[in-house]
Amino acid sequence: MSEVQILTMAEMAAAGKEPEILFWVGCAGSFDERAQRITRDICKILNHVGISFAVLGTEESCTGDPAKRAGNEFLFQMQAMMNIQVLDVYNTKKIVTGCPHCFNTIKNEYPGLGGNYEVIHHTQLIQQLIDEGRLKAEGGESFKGRRITYHDPCYLGRGNDVYEAPRKALEILDADLVEMKRCRSNGLCCGAGGAQMFKEPEKGTKDINIERMEDILESKATIVAAACPFCMTMLRDGVKGKDKEQEIQVLDVAEITVRVNGL
């Protein structure tokens, strides 16, 4: 990590600079051990292509997404307005997020409260970089012939119609890409959205991530590509639940990109 310099917006401002893009890390990306690795990988990608970026660090706070989905609009708007104040202090124009929930909330719900930014998800950034020829798949681990499937996060796919960007990032791998029977707009939720991440599921016959695991097993993929820290947790739990840790890896699209480029 030593080669990647990560500055905060405050540090940038102190140096009289404004970064090209603000990297909104999100709570999972900041605190969840598994998601932290994805956060670092997103930084590596930004650094690799030479995009100047900064994070809010301790000034970042929860976007309010779980509060809003659970029905606590007060808490959501408190969070949103405080975040907007901070973002506006730094004259933020463009934001990249590693979490579809942060992405959706800042992109769609902040404008109504006065926060207007160009917001993209990290898989969209990766797609743009590939399209521009700034990011390739070379110099690192080979994924040639490996069976990879992609799990659509609800708040990226159905929520915002982003289906192709993450797939684009996988297409350049020369891997054996397979779709699960439920994919794209028909994709199955990982079970964590709508604040489910923070509570026990209601009584039922099985957990949603186990149901999703069955789609994964059916696809016979050895790598499941994820694009959301919540999906990551749920899918990994599913893999553990089915005792498939030796056979199936869950990797974020950013992690795959970092590996294939040897960053």
Binding site: I6, C62, A67, N72, G159, A195, I208
Partner: protein, 432 residues
């Protein structure tokens, strides 16, 4: 002459009764809160053309889509023929369009006959699929007595109407060949012609069959028209406005409650003076707390269950069924409407949508994944109702599940849903 008078009386009564019942549904829908869906007319017309008229979301299930298309196209086009029957009935004429249309008339009647057969095929297939095929989608806790029989009644009525239409044509055709009375040579009868041998050859008997089927067909249609407001089949009318007024925003975008914005702004900035807003509760406890669009959706729902069949909670055995959310909403607003009819517009009872119809367990099982919203062929949004009810439970009652209250507390105190200190937010930078 007597026939014409009876016809006009029946027609007038049917139209009067129908408008009265539609008026009630309209009033019930307008019991909902206001919401502005007048923006972007261009986009709205386009969506309606694509989704309602063009059936674009039906194709996800190709078999049902084709069968439904038969009934849909049949229904829309055969209305030209119904128009002729109405004119004939009022003026005592017979096949009044045959003169002005000439050769085209033959083509049209031929087309209607083929459509009638396609409708028959689709209805019989649907009946078999529902009652013998045991499709999972058509069972489920909310598909109890009435919703189940409603579907069967609709299909049986359509089968009867189409059979009467073809029998009428067959008798008419035979009478034409006999040069009998006013039965002028008009139309092509490619299908009903085949029924000819089943009918008697005597002109008087044929005339009785033709008249009998004619009356049965038109009275059947008028009766069916008046069945619509009581049935899920009402979707044939509401699908169009419902899609026109659908949500054009990304599905992930939830509404920002303006009433909350005022309070939050006042909290953050004591000098802020909020614009006076109407006082209402936060979120929805009963159907009248929902918007008119939510209520219109409830009356548009045709209980096809595509929403429920893709719902991750439902698929994994939880209580939640998006279809039930819509049906409960409709049942409740209908109940309130009946109360108003009987007791005047200030009618109140001690029931509410929450708890009396929809349980909290259902509400909390939702992952807000939007699968139900995406699956609906007529752009109904059950998720909005679930969200509004969660808002009521959380903000008015403070009755969120304990673990969610913990999450709220963490967000409020630490700026994260987990119990971590904001000071540790950059710790990820150090490890590798």
């Amino acid at each position: 002459m007597i026939g014409q008078i009876i016809f006009i009386i029946i027609l007038a009564a049917a139209i009067w009764l129908f408008s009265k019942n539609v008026g009630k549904i309209r009033r019930n829908i307008l019991l909902g809160r206001d919401t502005d869906r007048s923006d972007n007319p261009g986009e709205r017309w386009k969506t309606m053309a694509l989704v309602a008229l063009g059936q674009s979301k039906m194709v996800k299930r190709p078999f049902a889509a084709v069968m439904h298309l038969f009934i849909y196209v049949g229904f829309v086009i055969i209305n030209i023929e119904v128009l002729e029957i109405l004119v004939d009935g009022v003026f005592g004429s017979h096949r009044v369009f045959s003169h002005p249309l000439g050769g085209l008339y033959g083509l049209l009647i031929g087309g209607f006959e083929i459509l009638a057969v396609l409708v028959l095929v689709a209805c019989v297939t649907f009946l078999i699929r529902r009652n013998i095929g045991k499709l999972k989608r058509f069972s489920g806790v909310e598909m109890t007595a009435w919703p189940k029989s409603d579907a069967n009644y609709i299909l049986i009525i359509e089968i009867l109407l189409m059979t009467a239409f073809l029998t009428m044509n067959a008798a008419d055709h035979k009478l034409q060949l006999l040069n009998f009375g006013h039965y002028i040579k008009a139309g092509n009868f490619p299908v009903s012609d085949l029924l000819g041998p089943l009918l008697p050859d005597r002109a008087s008997a044929l005339e009785m069959i033709e008249r009998g089927c004619w009356w049965f067909h038109i009275i059947g249609i008028l009766a069916f028209l008046n069945y619509l407001p009581y049935s899920k089949h009402f979707h044939i009318l509401l699908a169009f406005p419902n899609v026109y007024y659908s949500n054009l925003n990304p599905k992930g975008k939830f509404t920002n409650m303006a009433s909350v914005t005022n309070e939050v702004k006042a909290m953050l900035d004591p000098s802020f003076v909020p614009e006076p807003a109407e006082v209402s509760r936060f979120g929805a406890k009963d159907v009248t707390d929902l918007t008119w669009k939510n209520l219109m959706e409830a009356y548009t729902c045709t209980e096809c269950g595509r929403c429920t069949s893709v719902c991750p909670a439902n698929q994994t055995g939880k209580l939640l069924s998006p279809r039930k959310i819509m049906m409960d909403t409709r049942d409740r607003i209908t109940e309130i409407g009946k109360g108003i009819d009987q007791n005047g517009k200030d009618f109140k009872d001690d029931k509410t949508l929450l708890d009396n119809y929809i349980t909290r367990e259902e509400l909390w099982a939702c992952t807000t994944c939007n699968a139900c919203v995406d699956a609906c062929p007529v752009n109904i949004n059950p998720l909005e109702i679930i969200t509004e009810m969660r808002r009521y439970v959380v903000m008015e009652e403070s009755q969120a599940p304990a673990s969610l209250n913990n999450m709220f507390g963490n967000v409020e105190n630490n700026g994260a849903p987990w119990k971590y200190s904001a000071a540790d937010r950059l710790n990820w930078k150090e490890e590798s």
